[in-house]
């Protein structure tokens, strides 16, 4: 069972039954995958995101826990690393904050990370806060320069680099995950506008 803290003691009293109903998971852009000439745009499935906050004064313990749990060092702010198996990407956003991004379906991502870093960090599930789009292909920089104020020249923004910025009034976390591949994360509530922004940039350029 999913819990981030011990359950409150709620003993069963009174009558009632839970209706039979299957809650369906429907992230906003689930299944989106389009090719625009050489550029493809897709929403990665089951992208789990967990925020990791470093307790005040707990830096050493947190770093050690990441190293032990993931086998890699927590990168510097503005950088990300993939764990050895490539299963999780750790993105350092701020001195005391990082995201763990990995593929995971059920809504217990926080526990998955908790198993790795134990109690060395404060964890908060961010999976449903964000929606992700991956853009890939030659010419992708020409698309991104119509939205992104960050210098994405290969020499300035290496593979693994990450930046939170603003594009067309949307807060976006952009991570370079490959030579011509970028993962963009934005707020899930504005997923439609986020997709529209990327599609417009692509069609304006292509």
């Amino acid at each position: 069972m999913w819990r981030s803290c011990p359950p409150i003691s709620l003993t069963q009293k009174g009558s009632g039954f839970v209706v039979k109903f299957n809650l369906v998971s429907a992230p906003p852009l689930a299944g989106y995958h389009e090719a625009f000439g050489p550029v493809t745009l897709r929403a990665p499935g089951d992208l789990a995101i967990v925020n990791m906050a470093v307790p005040l004064g707990g830096d050493t313990r947190a770093m050690k826990a990441v190293k032990t749990g993931y086998g890699v060092d927590l990168p510097e702010p503005g950088k990300s690393v993939e764990t050895q198996k490539g299963a999780t990407r750790l993105v350092r956003l701020a001195p005391d904050q990082a995201f763990a991004i990995f593929t995971h379906e059920t809504p217990d991502a926080e526990e998955v990370v908790a198993k790795r870093v134990k109690k060395a960090m404060y964890l908060t599930d961010q999976t449903d806060v964000w929606t992700g789009l991956e853009i890939n292909g030659p010419g992708v920089l020409a698309v991104l320069e119509r939205m992104c104020p960050i210098d994405l020249h290969p020499d300035a923004f290496a593979v693994g680099d990450a930046a939170r910025t603003v594009m067309e009034h949307l807060g976006v976390l952009i991570i370079r995950t490959g030579e011509d591949r970028y993962l963009l994360l934005s707020a899930s509530s504005s997923a439609g506008s986020f997709l529209h922004m990327l599609e417009t940039s692509i069609t304006n350029v292509m």
Partner: protein
């Protein structure tokens, strides 16, 4: 404008939200005898210099850090950028 973030490098000021004079870090002691007067000064009176100005910027569309930026209000030249939490600690802020 471009703000040279101490950790993240140059970023367009459009990513930031401006608050004002970095004297806002120096929140008075609420138990001081003249707390009302001190808070009045803290809340309302500003040097507003024409020249170097220490000011608070928040990297809202970024890493959510508050920065203390020393900037010339005549030329807009940015002389220095520090993490506000470091400045606050150095000025004796704690718990």
């Amino acid at each position: 404008m471009i703000i040279e973030h101490p950790l993240l490098g140059p970023r367009d000021a459009a990513e930031f939200i401006y608050l004002g004079d970095a004297c806002l870090i120096d929140r008075p002691d609420w138990q001081a005898e003249d707390a009302a007067e001190q808070f009045h000064e803290y809340g309302y009176l500003r040097d507003n210099p024409a020249g170097a100005h220490q000011e608070l910027w928040y990297h809202e569309q970024g890493d959510r850090s508050w920065l203390v930026v020393t900037r010339d209000t005549l030329s807009h030249e940015i002389i220095k950028v520090d993490m506000a939490r470091d400045v606050a600690k150095a000025r004796g802020r704690g718990t």
